[in-house]
Amino acid sequence: MAVDPAKPKRVLVVHGVEAGTDADLHQDRLIDSLVRSRLGGMPLSFGTELYHYENINDRAQRRLRQVIQLFLTNMLARAGVDLTLDLVLDVLIALKDGSTARTIRQGLVDRLLEIYRDGHPCFLVAHSLGTIYAFDAVNQLIGSKGLFDRNDRGSWPLFGLVTLGSPIGLRMFNRSRVRSLGRGDRPFPRTFPWLNYWDRTDPVVSGSFYGKPRSGYKIVERFGATSSGWEITDRVIDTGKVWLEAHCGYWTHPGLGDDLVSLLA
């Protein structure tokens, strides 16, 4: 079992906090068209797919949402409260890190391993809350026996992590370290790239409800020393939008597309 460089690259996209159901989500198509629009006619063989977990969240929330609906008679209020609960409970599930979060994370790990068994070089692109699951999944895989040999990328189920609008720098998520890949025993052991994109006014990144810009340059670069085997890069991006619009504006930014092209090539 090894990754085959001749096989098309696969980009697995992980969504963030979402309303609705799995059927409503198509962020993989956004990444696909963004990358294709930035190739300048150069060939690049790749495909995208979305890792869905909104239905898992919805199943876990169903009973509580049904009980709260019993107390509301106004149709509009019911819809508004249900939407708010849908979003807020997604975050609480990730924060609590209980059985639902474990199911979501394991599902992601399993899908990455399936792609690995098929031999495709794979890249993970995650947005918002999905970056927490993606980060944990990558670190879980790095701890697995037989994977991520630094001397041979054929043993890597994942070739890079890209996070967009991630709240991972906020204290409440309690993440601050990557799992080391070890040292490798050849002159140039490979490093695992992690690119973290953030817009300064994105409230999910800054934690500021009012969209006050986050200053500075580093969020996740401090998560790993050079010896960890990770190549971690924080990159500020101006989506041209503000506040929650900025949080949803990464998917179409040409600068991100250009960087993805280079990463996949």
Binding site: P193, D199, Y217, E231, V236, V242, H253, S262
Partner: protein, 166 residues
Amino acid sequence: MLCGWLPAVLLVSGCAHHYMYSRTLEAPDSLGHTRQHLLYWNTTVRPLWFDSREGSVRILEQCSLSTIDYDEQPAGIVFRQRERDEPVLEQARETHLCGRILNGDRIIDLRPGLIDVTVACRDRPRDRFDTPQPYLEAREAPYQFQVARHEVKDFSEIPKRPACGN
């Protein structure tokens, strides 16, 4: 509460001006081929909200899928050495910086006109998974891009990688 905020946010966002700065330069790449190299960055100016500036100046290559990012950092606007960038010039070996924008330390300082860009490394594929991604040839003297500014409706108008074969 969110609904109360939304009209104000939309109003302020609507006042934003988006600018795109770009220029293409013909020069040799690290394999010795003469190619087009497109440099660009973008900014947003908002009279009633916080201004924001793209955190990177990018160079896209013709006939290569390479993207070089000159990221705004405390040390200036710099091209940070990546795993597959091999230092060619001495200063890159010491600093782990493969290049720099010489006209300012922040994107906000950059103006239309001549932009001086240095390149001190070359692409070096490391294993069978890496395909060659040549970029501007390393040299002591800076490259000069005569950059023009355009106001754009949104950033989808940012120019694309120069097509191969032109």
